[in-house]
Amino acid sequence: MKYIDEYRDRETVQALAREIKRISKRPVKLMEVCGGHTMSIQKFGLPALLPETVELISGPGCPVCVTSRSYIDKAIAFCRQKDVVIATYGDLIRVPGSESTLEKERAGGAQIRVVYSIMDALQMARENPDKKIVFPGIGFETTAPGTAVAILEAYKEGVPNFFVFSAHKVMPPAMAALIDEGVKINGYIGPGHVSTITGKGIYMDIPVKFGLGVVISGFEPVDLMQSVLMLVRQIEDGNPQVEIQYKRVVKPDGNVKAQQMMEEVFVLGDDWWRGLGILKKSGLKIRPKYAAHDAEVNISSEGMVALREPKGCICGEVLKGLKKPKDCTLFAKACTPRDPVGSCMVSGEGACQAYYLYNR
């Protein structure tokens, strides 16, 4: 497939690996922030190609993984109300809440529908005026603009039964919080699809304040190896900065139209992240102007259960890059993708699932 296969070329990957080996002197830890990167790195076995001096650790960029259990509990409370239909991305339905999952609720008769795009949820609302369609909005700057498009359309057209339950988040506060917490890393492999929307400006603080480089990377093995090379070069030269490796997609200013729609619909508020706790101005809340489409304003969560975290799960530490999935005593024993204990094992972008599938 054009513009995919070329970036999977084995010889190019090897050539890059060799160059990394040639220039890398200091031991470094590089964090891939995005869960999509974690998956790709494990799937293509990149760690085995890197010299001993370069260690890759995974970060907090898996939206399902950082979402709180109480968010799932609330979605479950919503689905138990009369006439509510939950229309959701497939990633979410197996994520454990305190006592149940959306999948179990569906087996118990709740109306849970998996959609590929939020626009399908909006269409469902148009076609079923007697139902309340609730869409759980998770994801970072890549996904939030789509939610904004749907809310704007529902608002303009007047689709009174379409609601979004927003847990959308923005990436930079989490990246800054990790360093503040003392997680020792030497550079960031920046999430390419976040920057497709935001551009590179959101990371400008990181080299200045923390002296760390950020290379915004694509998702294929060649992309990732080149990004590692760029970071190692920055570190060896003592010149941390924000660079774009994924130039075929990421423009320095990002996608301005998408940013404007996001800005119109959302306002930044404090939000909770697994592993990091509450981070100031890290969540995207629906503005009062669009409150008619905010599930939290319009749908009752009566009967929501009290929060209970699973014993032994160290997802929070894994998301901070402090521990590896294999450090968890439940990994591949009590916790597997079929029967996940924590969110990092459920999601296709979760570090625990990536290690389970490719690096057990």
Binding site: T12, S117, T143, V149, P191, I197, V249, V250
Partner: protein, 89 residues
């Protein structure tokens, strides 16, 4: 969920495009891009049903050329290693 794929635009109908990846076709909502700048044959990145950016073909070709140079350098090194019977890197 955060994965996106480069897809080729086959047809544009208003603010929707029919795109292909390999043999499969997808619909993409174009509201995040300026439709005036798009035409069939362009590649776009699709994420949860939305085209989030047009792929910059010039940049893509430039990076592929850089990789080709890299590979050549690597092959030269291989040859040198063989000739001198000594590992460079």
């Amino acid at each position: 969920m955060c994965l996106s794929i480069p897809a080729k635009i086959e047809q544009i109908h208003g603010e929707t495009a029919v795109c292909s990846v390999g043999g499969a076709t997808y619909e993409a909502n174009l509201q995040m891009l300026s439709t005036e700048t798009l035409q069939p044959g362009d590649y776009v990145l699709i994420h949860t049903g939305f085209a989030i950016q047009k792929l910059d073909v010039e940049e893509a070709e430039a990076s592929l050329k850089a990789f080709a140079d890299f590979k050549k350098l690597n092959e030269d090194m291989d040859r040198e290693e063989k000739e001198n019977n000594q590992r460079l890197i």
